[in-house]
Amino acid sequence: MTQEYDAIIIGGGHNGLTCAAYLAKAGRKTLVLERRHVLGGAAVSEEVFPGFTFTVCSYVVSLLRPEVIRELELAKHGLHIMPVDSTVAPLENGDYFATYADEASTREEIRRHSHRDAEMAPKFTQMMYEMAFAVKPIIGVVPPNPEKPGIRGLGTMKELGQHLHGLGKDTLHELTKIMTMSVADFVEEWYESDILKALASLNGIIGTLLGPKSPGTAYVLLHHYMGELDGAFTAWGQQKGGTGGVSEAIASAARSHGAEIRCNAPVAQVIVKNGRAVGVALENGDEIYAKTIASGCDPKVTFRTLVDEKELPDDLVAAIDKFKYRGSSGKVNLALDALPNFTAIKDPALLRGSVEICPSMDYLERAYDDASYGGFSERPYMDISIPTTSDPTMAPPGKHVMSIFVQYARYDMAKHGTHDEQRQAFGDAVINTLSDFAPNIKDIILHKQVLTPWDIEDKIALTEGNIFQGELTLDQLFFFRPAPGWADYRTPIRNYYQCGSGTHPGGGITAGPGRLAALEILRDGN
C-alpha cells in the first residue's frame, strides 16, 4: 500500500472543494473524489436541456464567508455574485407586496399595507441586524466540546461568553426569544399586516419540516440574516451561471494550488486499519491511499455508509441515527419561452428579484398542514427566481430559466404512488398553483425538471433530501452538529474528518464547514 496523497476529500460539493482548496494551499497533495459527472453537490449548474442552464438545487448566495472569498481569491476564479435586491409577493386579491433595493421605496410600499409596519420595519431590521452581529462570531469558530473543552475550547467559550455578556440586556432578551420561539409568534410581536408577517416567517421554515408556529423556527430566520454581500449584511445574490459557478470557482482555486479533482469516482468505503483511516475504496474496486480522509457528505453517509459501525462508539451511532433530516422541500426548474405574466406584478424590474408565492400567513400554515401527514402541499410556498433576467447567457436569447424552490414536500410521498407518479403529481401541484398567479405559465414552458426530496437524495446524495445536510434546529446546531463531542470536524476514527454542512456552521453555501475542517486537519499536523 503506497500513500499517493496527503489527503482525499470524499464529495466534490462546495464544502469538500473548499476543504481541498485550503489543504492544497497549505501544500498538501490533495485529491477530491466526486461521484457525479459534475462538481458542486447541491451547488450545481447543469445544462439539463440544450441551451438552458439550470441552477439545479441551491439558487441564491449570501452566507458565503467573506474570509473564504478573500483567502481563496474566488473572484479571480470566477465568483460573480449579482444582487437579488427586490422581493415581490403577488397576493390573492390581485394586489402585491414588494421590497426594493431602495429603502425609501420599500418603506412607502409597506406604508401602503400598514402605516404602523412601515415604522416597525426599520426597527425589526435593526434588531435582526444586531442579533446577527451578536451571533456572528459563533459562525467562525470551531465548536468546543462542553464536556471536555480543553484549553482551546475553554478559550473559545470564554471569548463567546465575554462577547455575549457585552451585548447588553435588550439584545440578550431578543436573542433568547429568537432561540426559542416560533417564527410566527416572533414576528407577531413586530408586525400587524398579514403579508409582512408571512414574508418575515418564510426564512424561519425554509429547509425544515416545521410550520411557522413550531417553536425554534425563529432561529432559522436568524440563520438567514447572517449573510452578507460586499459588506452589506443580510444581502442575497445570485451567482452568474447559477450556484454551480460558486463550486467551479472554488474548484478552480483548489486546482490552482495543485489539488486534483476527479468526477465519476464514487467512493464505496473508507478503508480503516487499526482505528485509523488509511484510504478509500471506490465503487469500481480501486483503492487509493492517503494520510487523511475527509468526508463532505452528510452525517449519515459519513458515519453509517462509508465506515463500519464497529469502528464507532455506540453513543455516536445512536446520535447519528437520531439526527433529523426530514427533507421538506423540492425544486422545479423550468425552461421558458418568454417571461411569465404575473397578474399582480406590473413592474417588470421586480422579476429580477425573488418572487414569493406566499400570499398570507394562512396560506403558509395550510401548506404546512397539507404536508403534516405525508406528501406535499397542494398549494405550496414557492421561492421563485428567474436568473436569466440578470444573466441572459443561461438560456438562448429571449428565453428564460425559472428556478422554483418549493416547500412543503416530504420525503415520504407514498400516497401518491411510485416515485414517478409522485414526481408527476408534485410537479402538477406546483404548476397549477403558479398558473393562478401567472396565467400564461403553462403556455410558455418548454422544458420542466421536477425534483422531489427523494430525487434530491438520489441525485445529490443528501439524506431524505434535506438541503442543509440535516435540519437547522437548535438541537442540531453548534456543538450538537452532528453529535455531542464530535462537532470539531474530527471523528472517532483517527485521520478521518467531516467537512460538510452536517457540521458547524451548517447548511447553505457558506464554505464555513470546509474551511474550519481544513484548519483543524492542518492543526492536527495532517
Binding site: L79, A232, D391
Partner: protein, 398 residues
C-alpha cells in the same frame, strides 16, 4: 440651460431616478434606476448602454491631417493604419497633460478625435501653415457606448458589418439598424464593447433598435455611477478626478505629465516633433515626480477600524473621486501622495483605488497607507500597490 443629447427623448423616458449630472453642459444620467447595481452588473455580465454624446468630437481632413495630429499628440500616429483607433494624451509645451482621448483614422487623410475638453482652438492654433480642414463635429454626432460580454451579439443582430473581424481599437463605417454609423471597438469599461457614432437624425432609431434587440441579451441603459465603477476597475483615468487638464488650472501643483499619470506607454519620444517633446524628454531622463498606481485596500484592517466603533465593516457602495491623502507610515506622518478615485469592486471582491504617489513608494507590492474616515475620525488603513488595470478579462481584447 443644459443641452440635450440626441438620445434625450429616450433616456429621459427611461431615467426613473431623474438623477442627472452636468457632463460638458449636457444632461447625463447618473443612473436610470434608484440603485445603480443592476446597471453595473449588466456591464460585466450582459451589457450596458451609455449615452456618450457629450464627448467633444473633431474631424481633421487634408493632406497634412496626419502631420497636424502627430504634432499634437504623444503617440506616434504614423503607425496608425486606416481603420485603427489610438488612445493618446496631448500636452502643452511643458509636457503637462491637456487631455486624453482617442484618434481614429477613417482614411489616409481623414481623422476623428474625441476629447473631454474643448480642443478646436488648440487644433487650429497648431495647424498654422498646414493643409488641413478642422471641424468641430461635437454636435454632428451622437454617441452610444454598448459595453459588456453580450454587446457583440446585440450589435451583430443589427449590422452586416463583420464584428468578429473588427479587432480591439479598430473602427469601421457601416449601417446599424439601417442608420449610417461609425462602429468603434473601444470603450471606457475595460470590457468587450463598442462605441457607435451616428448623425443626430438617426439617433432615436438607433437607440430603439439597440434597446429592442438588447432585451434578449440582458441590455440595460446605464449611467455615470456604474460607468465610474467599471472604469476604475479597468484602471482608466477620469479627467477632473484623477488629473486636471493643464488648461483648466492656474496652479502648477495641479498639473501632471503623462509619466506622472502612468501613461508612459503613450509617449513616443523618438517620433517627429510634438508639443511637449523636449520637456517630456527631460522628465524621462530625470524621472517623474509622481507615479500613478493601483492600490488594494486591506479590507480586514478596515474592518478592524469599524470594530473600534462596534460597527460592521462598511464598504463604499459606489465610487468616490474626492482625493484623500496617502502615507508611507501608519502614523500618517509621511505624506507620499493622494488617492484620486476608488470603489469597492463587486466583480473583483476588492476595494480598489487609483493613487498618485512618490516614485520610491510606487513599486508593485509596496505596503502603504490610505486615509479612511470612520465616524468622522481619520485612520490610515494599509494598502498594497498593484498593477493597473485591476480588471482585465481576455474578452476585452477579443
Amino acid at each position: 440651460m443644459p443641452r440635450k443629447s440626441p438620445f434625450y427623448s429616450r433616456t429621459s423616458q427611461l431615467c426613473e431616478s431623474q438623477s442627472w449630472v452636468d457632463w460638458s453642459g449636457y444632461l447625463s444620467a447618473n443612473m436610470y434606476e434608484l440603485d445603480h447595481s443592476h446597471e453595473y452588473n449588466a456591464v460585466r455580465t450582459s451589457c450596458g448602454l451609455f449615452d456618450v454624446s457629450p464627448l467633444y468630437k473633431y474631424t481633421v481632413r487634408g493632406s497634412q491631417a496626419l502631420a497636424l495630429l502627430n504634432r499634437i499628440v504623444t503617440r506616434d500616429l504614423t503607425k496608425c493604419r486606416v481603420g485603427q483607433v489610438v488612445y493618446t494624451t496631448w500636452c502643452n509645451d511643458d509636457g503637462k497633460v491637456i487631455d486624453d482621448g482617442t484618434v481614429a483614422r477613417l482614411s489616409d487623410d481623414y481623422f476623428r478625435m474625441t476629447a473631454a475638453v474643448p480642443t478646436l482652438y488648440w487644433l487650429q492654433d497648431n495647424s498654422f501653415g498646414l493643409d488641413v480642414e478642422i471641424e468641430d463635429v461635437s454636435e454632428a454626432y451622437g454617441g452610444l457606448a454598448l459595453q459588456g460580454p453580450t454587446s457583440r451579439d446585440v450589435l451583430q443582430n443589427l449590422t452586416d458589418a463583420d464584428l468578429e473581424g473588427l479587432k480591439y481599437f479598430q473602427i469601421i463605417e457601416d449601417k446599424v439598424a439601417g442608420v449610417p454609423a461609425q462602429i468603434s471597438r473601444t470603450g471606457y469599461t475595460g470590457d468587450l464593447g463598442y462605441e457607435i457614432f451616428v448623425a443626430p437624425d438617426g439617433a432615436e432609431e438607433l437607440w430603439d433598435a439597440v434597446v429592442d434587440t438588447g432585451r434578449a441579451y440582458g441590455l440595460l441603459p446605464a449611467g455615470n455611477t456604474a460607468l465610474d465603477m467599471v472604469r476604475i476597475e479597468a484602471g482608466l483615468l477620469l479627467i477632473d478626478a484623477d488629473f486636471v487638464s493643464t488648461n483648466q488650472t492656474l496652479f502648477e501643483v495641479q498639473r501632471s505629465s503623462p509619466y506622472e499619470l502612468g501613461l508612459d506607454w503613450t509617449v513616443k519620444l523618438n517620433k517627429d516633433y510634438f508639443v511637449g517633446q523636449d520637456a517630456l524628454r527631460a522628465e524621462k531622463a530625470s524621472g517623474p515626480a509622481w507615479r500613478t498606481v493601483g492600490l488594494e485596500i486591506d479590507v480586514e484592517a478596515l474592518e478592524k477600524v469599524y470594530r473600534k466603533f462596534a460597527m460592521p465593516l462598511h464598504l463604499p457602495y459606489t465610487s468616490w473621486t474626492e482625493a484623500v491623502p496617502v502615507y508611507r507610515d501608519e502614523g500618517a506622518r509621511q505624506y507620499i501622495g493622494k488617492a484620486t478615485s476608488g470603489t469597492w469592486s463587486p466583480v473583483l471582491k476588492k476595494y480598489v483605488v487609483i493613487a498618485r504617489i512618490k516614485p520610491q513608494d510606487a513599486a508593485v507590492g509596496s505596503r502603504i497607507f490610505m486615509e479612511a474616515t470612520v465616524e468622522s475620525q481619520r485612520f490610515a488603513v494599509p494598502a498594497t500597490v498593484v498593477k493597473l488595470p485591476f480588471f482585465d478579462p481576455p474578452r476585452k481584447r477579443q
